[in-house]
């Protein structure tokens, strides 16, 4: 009886076998994509010249492929495929100056400031400019999450190999 209960409990536990937390799903996909790609990269290329770019490219590609349920991943893929130069997320780092209070931007127009910032945020998100603001805000949420997971994955990969 008890065993049945226990078994039942266990069974119940696994009754929802597919309830994988999305973060896990993402990380798994990501690592599974990226690591072989990196290996292949490593094997194919011996020079490290273009490596950085290519690695970044792979990194972004893995990100985009792992998060295909989101709108921004589509845009990211487009960017990646269109230009072989990884102009993806890294390019935004050039704008990656901390948002200073832009005086004179919109004066005292609070809404204007907010809109400015929203636009800035849109630039950060791949494809953000093509979305409207509300949609973009939603996408930013999961983009942030995926970025975080990506960082974790990259860190662990790097740590594992060093």
């Amino acid at each position: 009886m008890e065993r049945q209960i226990i078994n039942k409990k266990k069974r119940v536990f696994s009754v929802e076998p597919n309830k994988i937390p999305p973060s896990e799903v993402f990380t798994r996909k990501y690592t599974r994509l990226l690591v072989p790609a990196l290996k292949k990269l490593n094997m194919n290329k011996n020079s490290s010249q273009a490596n950085q770019l290519t690695v970044k490219h792979e990194v972004d590609m893995a990100l985009a492929l792992s998060a295909q349920e989101f709108a921004w991943s589509r845009f990211l893929l487009q960017k990646l495929s269109s230009s072989n130069n990884p102009t993806t997320t890294t390019s935004s780092s050039s704008n990656g100056i901390r948002i200073q209070k832009r005086s004179g931007k919109e004066g005292g127009d609070e809404d204007g400031e907010i809109e400015e910032k929203l636009r800035e945020l849109q630039k950060l998100l791949p494809g953000g400019e093509e979305m409207n603001v509300e949609e973009m805000l939603g996408e930013i949420g999961n983009y942030i999450k995926c970025l975080e997971l990506q960082t974790i994955a990259l860190k662990s990969i790097v740590e594992d190999t060093t």
């Binding site: 266990k10 690591v35 990100l63 662990s156």
Partner: protein
């Protein structure tokens, strides 16, 4: 409106009812009525409306509950119990009779919960009933009420209110607290339908708000709301979550034929309207968006207007003193949506909680995204440099480790990876994605055991978690050892006798 009919009547609680509650005039009437008819039909809600409208006190709810309980306990409704004043008592009796008619079979006390929540829903329902329902014997069907001009409206409202969530309710809903006066403030039976509460609260909210003028009480008749073709469900009862959500359950038994329509509409309109209205607690003007700039003060129109079929609109209520043209309204809705999303983002971005205001929060978010992107870039550069030299990637271990890290909720900005958390889950997670800690632990041990005897360098493939190795074993030997050790976090695998040159035995305990 009609509510006054009952509201103003003072009905002393029936003597047999051991109701110990203060008795606001309206509430007492309600109580009596509720008490008398334990089997009040759901149809009673329309009548209840009357009572509720006037009784806005919270105590009513408790009173109501107690009344309800007593009502339940006394299954035999007896109008004679009312000891109220002549006219009042009559009214009460009538109500009871009606209730009895309707809710004969249902054990729920529609009226009872309403009492408590009268304040909330009163406004909603009060208006439809223009006149006290004629006295009916208990067997009278609900349809009899339809004679009332507003009854249909109200009935619909009630039914809508209750039908959706109440449909599931059965007669068993009413808790039989024989002789027990439940002052829990909640009808236990109600609790089974949390949806009702959601339903009820918005509706109650509007009703209960004392500031809502009587004219406004018919709340949220379709005419009042501006209609936008958006999901109405957005209008959850954010605004005044009425504690009196419980009363709604009573409606479950309400007849649904006429109610459904009204209620449905009501619910929608209420929800959406309430949502917008909440912030505006100023007795905001109901505004019909599609009607242009009028109706600022068009509050009373809804009272007698038949409820329109529920539409998939977002009913926006213009704020007091603000423009009411459709553009500004639309913009307002848009802004609110953006505000909602920003709130969600706030939870996602660390450190945003302390910041208030859209601009600052946006700043934070932007900075955070940029920092994340920079981090990714940096890591990828590092990876590229590392990639050149080392190739031993333990995919599975990595994956599981990452999965564990991510699932354990470690944040990116936390320094280092907490592999300890992985140790419990790692092995298990690889094979199944359930975080069954106990099984994890067990699985953890077995691989370890197999790990030890084998030379570690070669035994990895035995491990269930490493079944997906596709590369040469030698490649994995070194790496996987490290990985396993680091992942497992147990010093067991810490065996230097493997021929791998793993420099960093990352055993993180």
């Amino acid at each position: 409106m009609d509510n006054e009919l009952f509201m103003n009547t003072e009905l002393p609680p029936p003597s047999e009812m051991a109701m110990h509650f203060e008795q606001p005039s309206s509430s007492s009437a309600m109580l009596n009525w509720a008490l008398m008819d334990p089997n009040l039909a759901r149809n009673s809600p329309p009548q209840d409306c009357f009572m509720w409208e006037k009784s806005t006190e919270q105590q009513q709810q408790s009173i109501f509950d107690s009344a309800l309980s007593s009502l339940v306990s006394s299954p035999t409704p007896s109008n004679s119990n009312f000891s109220g004043g002549g006219g009042d008592g009559f009214i009460i009796r009538e109500l009871i009779g009606k209730l009895g008619n309707i809710g004969n079979t249902s054990g729920d006390i529609c009226g009872a919960p309403m009492n408590g929540n009268v304040s909330h829903s009163a406004s909603c329902y009060a208006t439809p009933m223009s006149s006290p329902p004629p006295m009916m014997n208990r067997t009278a069907p609900l349809t009899e009420f339809s004679g009332d001009p507003g009854f249909a409206e109200r009935a619909a409202k009630f039914s809508c209110f209750g039908s959706r969530s109440f449909n599931g309710r059965t007669n068993s809903g009413i808790p039989v607290n024989n002789g027990k006066i439940v002052n829990s403030g909640k009808l236990t039976r109600v609790s089974s339908t949390p949806a009702l509460k959601a339903l009820a609260s918005p509706e109650f909210a509007s009703a209960s708000r004392p500031m809502i003028p009587a004219g406004d009480s018919p709340p949220k008749l379709p005419g009042e709301f501006s209609r936008k073709r958006k999901s109405v469900s957005k209008g959850k009862s954010k605004e005044n979550p009425l504690p009196a959500a419980s009363p709604s359950p009573s409606f479950s038994k309400v007849n649904q034929f006429s109610h459904a329509k009204l209620l449905f509409f009501f619910r929608f309109s209420r929800k959406t309207a309430e949502r917008k209205e909440v912030s505006e607690e100023k007795g905001g003007k109901r505004r019909r968006e599609d009607e242009g700039d009028e109706e600022e003060g068009d509050k009373g129109t809804n009272d007698t207007k038949p409820p329109e079929p529920p539409k998939d609109y977002i009913h926006v209520r213009a704020r007091r003193g603000q423009a009411t043209d459709s553009h500004s309204l639309a913009e307002r809705v848009r802004r609110e949506k953006i505000g909602e999303r920003m709130k969600l983002l706030q939870d996602l971005v660390p450190g945003c909680n302390k910041v208030t205001g859209k601009a600052l929060m946006l700043d934070e978010i932007i900075n955070y995204v940029q920092s994340l992107q920079r981090q990714v870039e940096f890591l990828s550069m590092k990876l590229s440099s590392v990639n050149d030299t080392r190739l031993e990637f333990n995919v599975d271990a990595l994956v599981s480790k990452d999965a564990m890290i991510s699932s354990s909720g470690s944040r990116v900005h936390e320094s280092g990876l907490r592999l300890e958390s992985l140790s419990h889950h790692n092995y298990n997670n690889n094979s199944q994605l359930h975080t069954n800690v106990s099984s994890n632990n067990m699985m953890l041990h077995s691989p370890m055991k197999s790990l030890e005897p084998s030379a570690l360098a070669r035994g990895f493939t035995h491990l269930p978690t490493l079944t997906q190795f596709t590369d040469t074993i030698s490649q994995y030997q070194m790496f996987s050892e490290e990985d396993l050790q680091s992942i497992v976090g147990m010093g067991v695998a810490h065996n230097p006798n493997h021929e791998s040159q793993s420099q960093n035995m990352k055993i993180e305990l």
